[in-house]
C-alpha cells in the first residue's frame, strides 16, 4: 500500500494526472467520512474535501515522505474542516444531520438502524468542535495519539482529555436519547 502510494505520488510529480485521480480514489472515502462527521452536512463536507485535494495537488512537492501522503493530506483536511466550520458558524448555517448521505445508507438497513444512526449524529453534533475532532480521529479514524498530535498541533495530554470528555458527553447524550 505504502509503496503504491509513494509510486503514485512520484508519478504525480512527473506530471501524471491519472496518478492523482488514483490518490483521490484511495483517500476520498476516509477523508469524506471524516469531513462529513466533522461538519455535519454533505455540502460543507464536499467543499472541505475538494479544498483538501486541490491544496494537496498544488503543494505535493512539500510532501516529503511520499509513502505517508495520506497522513500529510489528512493534516490539510483537518485544517480545511476547521476553516469551513468557522465560516459556517459565521454565516450561522444550520447543520443538517440525517440528510441524503444517511438516507442513502438507510436503503440497506432497517428503519430502526436508520433512526439510531440519526441519533448518534445528533449526539455527535452536541460536542464542542475540538472534542468532536479528537473523538473522530481517535475512535472513528483509529489514529494513535502521537499522530493525532501531529495532525492537530495539540499535545497528547490535551487530546486524551478531549477524547475522555467527548466520550463522557456522548455517553450521557446517548443515554438521554435511550430514556427519552
Amino acid at each position: 500500500m505504502d509503496q503504491t502510494v509513494a509510486d503514485l505520488v512520484t508519478r504525480v510529480l512527473e506530471a501524471d494526472a491519472d496518478a492523482f485521480a488514483q490518490l483521490v480514489a484511495v483517500y476520498r472515502p476516509q477523508f469524506g467520512r471524516y469531513a462529513y462527521r466533522m461538519l455535519g452536512n454533505r455540502e460543507d463536507a464536499e467543499e472541505a474535501l475538494q479544498d483538501t485535494f486541490v491544496r494537496a495537488y498544488q503543494a505535493i512537492m512539500a510532501c516529503r515522505d511520499r509513502a505517508r501522503f495520506g497522513a500529510w493530506a489528512f493534516t490539510i483536511l483537518v485544517n480545511r474542516c476547521r476553516t469551513v466550520r468557522q465560516r459556517v458558524m459565521r454565516r450561522d448555517r444550520p447543520r443538517v444531520f440525517g440528510e441524503a448521505a444517511l438516507d442513502a445508507a438507510a436503503v440497506d438497513h432497517p428503519a430502526e438502524r436508520h433512526f439510531e444512526r440519526e441519533e448518534v449524529n445528533r449526539a455527535l453534533a452536541t460536542l464542542p468542535p475540538d472534542q468532536r475532532e479528537a473523538f473522530l480521529l481517535k475512535h472513528v479514524e483509529e489514529l494513535p495519539y502521537d499522530e493525532m498530535a501531529n495532525l492537530t498541533g495539540s499535545s497528547v495530554s490535551a487530546l486524551k482529555m478531549r477524547v475522555k470528555r467527548a466520550c463522557e458527553r456522548l455517553r450521557r447524550e446517548l443515554e438521554g436519547i435511550a430514556h427519552a
Binding site: 476520498r28 472515502p29 467520512r33 485535494f53 491544496r55 494513535p144
Partner: protein, 176 residues
C-alpha cells in the same frame, strides 16, 4: 496504528462508533468534481499575473522587495528586508551548490516550474523578479526540487496545511 492501552468503552458508545465508521455516500461523481476543480485551477492563468498588463504602468512607481538567503556552514539560513511595498519583488538566494532553484507560492499556484530563479555568473547567487498585484502571498524557495526553504526572519506563513515552512509577503497597493 492503535494505542496499546485502549480504553474500555461503554457498549452503547461502541455501537455508536460502529455507526460513525460506516462509509458516507457523497453521491455519484464526487471524485470527478474534485479532479475537475484541480483541472480548472491548472487551466486558469496565475491570478496575480492575469491583471498585470492593466496595472503595468503603475509598476513604474513600484518599490522593490528584496529577499536574501545566505548559506552558512550549518546549512541554509535566511534574512530579509523589504524597504517598501510595490508590485515588483526580487527573490534572491545564495546557494552555491544548488543545481536549480525556484520560488513557489500563492502567486504561481505552488508550481515549481513557473518561477525558476536564474543563476548569476558568479557568487552562487540565484535571482528572479516577480511582478505581483497588491495582496498577501505565502511563498517558499525550492532548491533542487526537494529542499523547501522559508525565511525564518520573515513572518511565517501561518498556514499549517502544508507542514513545510513558508513565509509571507504583503505587497502594498497604490492609490489611483
Amino acid at each position: 496504528m492503535h494505542d496499546t492501552a485502549q480504553e474500555k468503552l461503554d457498549p452503547r458508545l461502541e455501537s455508536a462508533i460502529g455507526l460513525l465508521r460506516e462509509p458516507v455516500d457523497f453521491g455519484p461523481g464526487v471524485d470527478q468534481r474534485v479532479l475537475q476543480r484541480i483541472a480548472a485551477d491548472r487551466a486558469a492563468p496565475p491570478r496575480n499575473w492575469f491583471a498585470f498588463g492593466w496595472i503595468g504602468g503603475l509598476a513604474l512607481a513600484a518599490a522593490v522587495g528584496y529577499f536574501v538567503l545566505v548559506r552558512d556552514g550549518s546549512g541554509p539560513t535566511a534574512r530579509s528586508h523589504r524597504p517598501s511595498g510595490g508590485e515588483e519583488v526580487v527573490f534572491t538566494l545564495t546557494a552555491a551548490t544548488a543545481a536549480r532553484v525556484s520560488v513557489v507560492g500563492d502567486f504561481n499556484n505552488w508550481d515549481p516550474k513557473v518561477t525558476p530563479l536564474k543563476a548569476a555568473p558568479t557568487g552562487g547567487r540565484w535571482i528572479v523578479t516577480v511582478k505581483l498585484l497588491p495582496g498577501r502571498y505565502r511563498f517558499a524557495f525550492l532548491v533542487d526540487g526537494h529542499t523547501w526553504l522559508a525565511d525564518p526572519d520573515h513572518p511565517a506563513g501561518g498556514d499549517p496545511d502544508f507542514q513545510s515552512p513558508t513565509s509571507v509577503i504583503t505587497v502594498e497597493g497604490h492609490s489611483l
